[in-house]
């Protein structure tokens, strides 16, 4: 019997009030803490916060917010989604999340990656052209730190460590740690080589095409002599009472944020046609009624032999109330429905 896990991720998307006026960064952050606490009440298994450093995603220190949530919850697992490891210090990341693990009684996780955001590179004095080398070295060091013993390490991207004890020690085994991968199969191999679980960030195109990545991951684990590790799917979406309402709430905010990013990133704007495709059965946006979203999640978890789905909820400009409704529908209706769909016979799983 496969155990499935269902999470919610946020990037600290800046909220607006009911009149469309943006709330302060501070209020948005307080709302995220409320949302995390409410996610536990709604029955969600995991709450993740992705690192961002912008006006519309004011969330550079998600671990601090996770600690606030930890103090007010008992069961929900808490983690990053993602930590931009390349522009951080692996030792500090380990210390922050093992501290969160202590505060939360062993509920911390970490997902390492880059996300689609790059603003931390200039902010902390890193060159994007060094991205690959930074990530490779730091992920390898992080894998050593997870062993929770004295670390000896030498590389180009930070000071060497000689038999260094890094505290606090985790009391309940190693932190669950994942590497987030977009579309590069060699990143899948790296996750397997270093012994991280695989988080597939699927934010465009047909999710089913990632099935090969899931197989690649398990085959690579075998090749490196490692036991099987789980695969999770992270995708954006929005749940409301009906498909029409979910799309009507999400589309203007989605278009708005892409329109803000597009000029600096140099890509084209989504059209209503492309949005309909993305939110349809073949696309990678999970926007709709609980039933629509549940069907899509179940279909794709099966197709990708993944055991965890994390919905990246919210979008700058949505209201806190809309997000709370999303969380409630996800936890109370979508998740039980997906479990039901996945336990029905003939789904091809043992």
């Amino acid at each position: 019997m496969t155990t499935y896990t269902f999470g919610l991720d946020t990037f600290g998307d800046r909220n607006s009030d009911a009149d469309g006026k943006p709330l302060s960064h501070a209020q948005t952050i307080r709302n995220v803490a409320e949302e995390g606490v409410f996610a536990e009440q709604a029955g969600v298994d995991f709450f993740g916060i992705g690192e961002h450093h912008t006006e519309y995603f004011p969330m550079p220190a998600g671990d601090v917010v996770l600690a606030a949530i930890a103090a007010r919850t008992e069961r929900i697992r808490l983690g990053s989604a993602v930590t931009v490891l390349s522009s951080d210090d692996p030792v500090r990341v380990f210390q922050r999340y093992s501290t969160l693990n202590a505060i939360s009684g062993g509920r911390a996780e970490v997902i390492l990656g880059r996300g689609s955001s790059i603003e931390s590179f200039p902010l902390f004095g890193y060159d994007l052209a060094d991205y690959e080398e930074l990530f490779e070295e730091k992920a390898a060091l992080f894998a050593e730190l997870l062993k929770d013993g004295p670390v000896t390490w030498r590389g180009k991207t930070r000071a060497p460590l000689l038999n260094q004890d890094v505290v606090p020690h985790t009391e309940s085994g190693p932190l669950p740690a994942w590497i987030g991968v977009g579309g590069n199969p060699q990143s899948v191999i790296r996750a397997a080589r270093l012994g991280f679980s695989l988080a597939l960030a699927i934010i465009g195109g047909r999710p089913a095409r990632f099935a090969a990545y899931s197989q690649l991951f398990q085959r690579a684990l075998e090749k490196f002599g490692r036991p099987p590790l789980p695969v999770l799917v992270h995708s954006p979406g929005h749940v409301a009472a009906t498909d029409e309402q979910a799309k009507a709430e999400f589309w203007p905010r989605w278009r708005e944020i892409i329109a803000l990013i597009a000029p600096e990133r140099g890509f084209a704007l989504p059209t209503e046609e492309s949005f309909d495709w993305d939110t349809g059965p073949d696309g990678s946006l999970y926007v709709g009624s609980p039933e629509t979203v549940a069907q899509k999640i179940a279909t794709n978890l099966r197709a990708l032999t993944a055991t965890r789905f994390d919905l990246k909820y919210g979008m700058p400009g949505l209201t806190h109330d809309q997000l709370m409704t999303n969380i409630e529908l996800y936890g109370r209706q979508v998740v039980p429905r997906v479990r039901e769909l996945l336990s029905s016979p003939g789904n091809g799983r043992s």
Binding site: I118, A129, I189, I203, Q215, R219, G266
Partner: protein
């Protein structure tokens, strides 16, 4: 059509495997190479690019008629031009500072113009760079399909452009010859069709409107 051209795809990251799969589906013999030992990409090739053969870059290129450059642009500067001498080269790379960081060598001109200057012994055609790797495979359709999407092709050598336009057509897109490499700047990040998936009339309209502001 006679014997199909043999393709060597350089790069097994985000973009290379997608182009390789499309080419295999269209009937081309395809080899793929990363920066090192083909053994390193054997699993990726077997599971993600079935039908392709992983080889050392030098061997893959030597036996190919068409070479696809799908490596990060900063890595291109490490590729010796002699490797690609006499080859028909598809430049599917992008200079995209907002995503990959700034590179001085590419600050002033169109990225494919810089690539072509460096590869003076090759015929360089800019193509398959402007549709995102998420979409490139999903949106490919056989010729004649209603609503089929368009993809731009630019190059200074008309015969090379014609050949790559044929390839673009066979792998699933209406080819649009946008002109010489300099005109191919419309296909770059910041250009009117970058990241867009458009039908032929939409593409032509976008290029006409965008070209004014870019040249």
């Amino acid at each position: 059509m006679g014997k199909p051209s043999r393709l060597a795809v350089l790069g097994a990251g985000h973009v290379g495997p997608v182009i390789a799969r499309l080419a295999i589906k269209a009937g081309y013999p395809v080899t793929i190479a990363a920066s090192g030992d083909p053994e390193d990409i054997a699993l990726v090739t077997e599971l993600v690019i079935p039908g392709a053969q992983a080889r050392w870059a030098g061997d893959a290129v030597a036996d190919a008629d068409i070479v696809v450059l799908a490596i990060p642009l900063h890595r291109f500067l490490d590729v010796g031009p002699a490797l690609l001498d006499g080859k028909l080269v598809i430049d599917a790379m992008n200079y995209w500072p907002a995503s990959d960081g700034a590179l001085e060598a590419f600050e002033d001109d169109g990225s494919s113009e810089v690539v072509a200057r460096r590869l003076s012994g090759s015929a360089v055609v800019k193509a398959l760079n402007h549709i995102g790797y998420h979409e490139l495979e999903d949106q490919a359709r056989p010729a004649g399909t209603p609503g089929r999407k368009a993809a731009g092709v630019a190059g200074d050598d008309p015969a090379a452009v014609a050949s790559i336009a044929g390839l673009v057509d066979r792998i699933g897109y209406d080819p649009v010859r946008v002109g010489i490499l300099r005109a191919g700047r419309v296909l770059q990040p910041g250009g009117p069709v970058f990241g867009a998936v458009l039908t032929l009339p939409e593409f032509q309209r976008a290029v006409r409107e965008g070209a004014r502001s870019l040249t």
